[in-house]
């Protein structure tokens, strides 16, 4: 057990080191810009994964929390001179409170009904972003959001933004790994497998589901806030149902219940337009097919498939190591 823990820590540090060193190899490359968005999407995917992958509760409206974070940040900073970074916490706090309140009635629902309720919530929020033109700028968007700054350091280029976003992303990753390896993480997975049995063992499923929903929303809001300041422009189209589905696709493809899977899925989907450019308009079809095929034939996602392959290889070699590498 101790070795598993140590190995996990090692994996995380190797990953973190790779992330932090990457820009030195990508200087001046547009990939650095793509990786900024990979970071933001990784954060979002992890947030959704905590809810869906661990606790087994689906959400088709997560883009709404992302949007709320972005709009709270964007509207306030484009109007008032607010202390930088304070706004991120403010956005997270507001969204957290809202998620906590609506979490109680929403998470009473299960399965398809839960999916529908979260979808409805997402659409309502999208309509609000779209229609409150005086605040959000409506469909043509909100521009003139300032970049974040610390003293004389302004986060207005890819290099700076990369570190800004990835410091947050790595923190979210580490905290999620910690969480998944704790009594709370286990309780969430227990709810996923059998809610009744979990409750019989004293797990307060109702509260815990609302709590993780809130945490997930807060992570999304932080991502949204960062997104607003990186882009300096936001429009409702980025926070609609399509994006909620895109997030879902990320974790289905990457791996449900896996932090690194979230990263993998986010990276693939963020770069997908690049990879599919050859196919032009075909990408939407491929995207739909991928969702179906992955769910049918690789329910553990790519990370699950890779783990299975590694385990198989190890077995072949004869090490036969027992691992339960679920981060």
């Amino acid at each position: 057990m101790v070795t598993v823990k140590k190995r996990q820590l090692l994996v995380f540090f190797v990953f973190a080191a790779a992330v932090l060193l990457a820009p030195f190899f990508l200087k001046g490359n547009y990939l650095l810009n793509v990786l900024v968005f990979v970071g933001i999407n990784t954060m979002l995917a992890i947030g959704l994964n905590l809810l869906l992958g661990y606790a087994g509760q689906i959400s088709l409206g997560h883009a709404a929390f992302f949007g709320m974070g972005a709009y709270i940040s964007g509207i306030i900073t484009s109007r008032f001179p607010v202390e930088p970074f304070l706004i991120i916490f403010l956005a997270a706090l507001c969204v957290g409170v809202i998620a906590f309140i609506i979490g109680f009635p929403i998470l009473k629902l299960k399965g398809h009904y839960l999916a529908m309720a979260t979808l409805g919530f997402g659409i309502i929020m999208y309509i609000i972003f779209n229609e409150t033109v005086d605040w959000t700028g409506g469909p043509s968007g909100l521009s003139g959001i300032p970049n974040l700054r610390v003293g004389s350091l302004v986060f207005d280029n890819d290099w700076n933004n990369y570190y800004l976003v990835w410091v947050f992303t790595l923190a979210v990753m580490l905290l999620s790994i910690n969480l998944s390896r704790s009594r709370i993480g286990r309780a969430l997975r227990a709810i996923h497998d059998s809610e009744v049995a979990a409750r019989v063992m004293g797990v307060n499923a109702r509260i815990l589901k609302v709590q993780i929903f809130t945490v997930s929303a807060v992570i999304s809001a932080v991502a949204g806030s960062l997104y607003a300041h990186v882009m300096t422009f936001i429009a409702p189209a980025s926070f609609g149902f399509n994006f909620s589905v895109e997030l879902l696709t990320m974790i289905v493809i990457g791996g449900l219940g896996s932090v690194y899977g979230s990263f993998l899925g986010a990276a693939i989907l963020t770069m997908l337009p690049e990879l599919l450019r050859v196919f032009q308009d075909l990408d939407i079809v491929i995207y739909g097919l991928m969702l179906i095929l992955m769910t049918m034939y690789m329910p553990g996602g790519l990370i699950g498939g890779m783990e299975a392959a590694v385990r198989f290889a190890l077995k072949k070699i004869g090490k036969g190591e027992n691992n339960n590498a679920q981060a």
Partner: protein
């Protein structure tokens, strides 16, 4: 003074380079961002088609100053995030010298900070007035500002002594921008908006809004949207027996609108770029030549009618071509030449750029047309 000398050296240098190595010179890369898929695809698709057609044509004619062009098109899907990623790739990876598009105001606003910083000229094909107002150093646009369309309608209303109007706008970027301008300019023309309704881009029935308008004592209705919404509005208005004049925006100035609205389109008026009535223009119209050539070529290549969205891309490519012919292929030179463009008769109108005006068009860019017997009729 020294700048001019520098520029001359640059120009000389480039011409020398090209004269010496016509065949060896790599093609000049131009980036294009259009929302080919997604909700704004009715705009993005003809734009992409037109741009590809024009570049192919230029290359066939020997390129610009002997150099071939290479058009790199990315799809923004009408999503700001994807637009920003794509523009970064165009600039940093493909190393384009200029960019045309995007199709929507939102996408344009999203990428403006990026092109401004990278110092790459952008010719947007979106209509939102805020793209070039205030003027941004590197940003130009070819789509007529929607305020010009608003003024064209209001002028006509004034002429008919109509002062009470109802507006019905779609709640997307196009409609909300139109709504803003309609409200802003009303007073100037002595018009009061007595009913202000909206509908969603995916709505399939507008009877309720029109019933409200019918009961509001308005003398005319102005509907602002892109297909298919306004066609449904036209049909619903006919169903409800609304007799007051119905104005549409330039968002539906294509053959498609008449097809969709059927006989309910009769009598509807709208401001439009001249492209749909190209053959009805007098030969004296400076744009006529360009318009006819565009209409014919587009029909020959794609088997459908070209519309004014494609026209925005036509203008963007041609403006670039002119600028590059005069100033070479350096981004800064292209920008400077663009800003000097005068009396360029394109599809969207006659462009006159200046350091104070990067939109370059005036109200003459629009004509008012009316649907008569299933076709567009120019109103003089």
């Amino acid at each position: 003074m020294s700048r001019n000398i520098f520029r001359m050296i640059l120009v000389l240098f480039f011409s020398f380079l090209m004269a010496g190595a016509v065949f060896a010179a790599p093609p000049v890369k131009i980036g294009a961002l259009f929302s080919v898929t997604g909700p704004a695809s009715p705009l993005g698709e003809p734009e992409r088609n037109t741009a590809e057609m024009m570049v192919a044509e230029i290359n066939k004619a020997g390129g610009i100053n002997g150099r071939q062009l290479e058009l790199i098109v990315y799809d923004t899907q009408g999503d700001a995030t994807k637009a920003v990623q794509a523009v970064n790739k165009l600039i940093k990876d493909d190393k384009v010298v200029a960019i045309i598009g995007p199709s929507t105001t939102g996408d344009s606003m999203a990428i403006i900070p990026v092109v401004e910083k990278a110092a790459i000229p952008l010719i947007s094909c979106a209509a939102g007035i805020k793209i070039t107002d205030p003027v941004k150093k590197w940003v130009f646009k070819t789509a007529q500002n929607d305020v010009l369309a608003v003024m064209r309608i209001y002028k006509n209303l004034q002429k008919q002594k109509i002062s009470r109007v109802a507006i019905l706008t779609v709640s997307d970027g196009f409609g909300s921008s139109g709504r803003e301008q309609l409200k802003l300019k009303a007073k100037e023309f002595g018009i009061s908006i007595i009913s202000d309704e909206t509908y969603g881009p995916k709505d399939t029935d507008m009877t309720v809004q029109l019933t409200k308008i019918r009961n509001s004592n308005a003398q005319a209705v102005i509907c602002w949207g892109t297909n298919p919404g306004p066609a449904i509005v036209a049909r619903n208005a006919q169903q409800l027996g609304i007799k007051i004049p119905l104005y549409m925006s330039h968002g539906v100035s294509s053959r498609k609108f008449i097809d969709l609205a059927g006989d309910s389109a009769g009598g509807i008026m709208l401001p439009s770029g001249k492209v749909i009535v190209a053959d009805q223009l007098p030969n004296s119209d400076p744009q006529k030549k360009a318009l006819m050539s565009y209409v014919n070529k587009y029909r020959a290549r794609y088997k459908v009618e070209g519309d004014h969205f494609g026209g925005h891309a036509w203008d963007a490519v041609m403006l670039l071509k002119n600028a590059m012919e005069k100033g070479g292929f350096a981004p800064a030179a292209i920008r400077d030449q663009l800003e000097k463009t005068k009396k360029f008769a394109g599809i969207g109108g006659t462009f006159n750029f200046s350091p104070q005006d990067h939109a370059g068009l005036n109200i003459d860019a629009f004509v008012l047309v009316k649907v008569e017997k299933g076709d567009w009729k120019l109103i003089k």
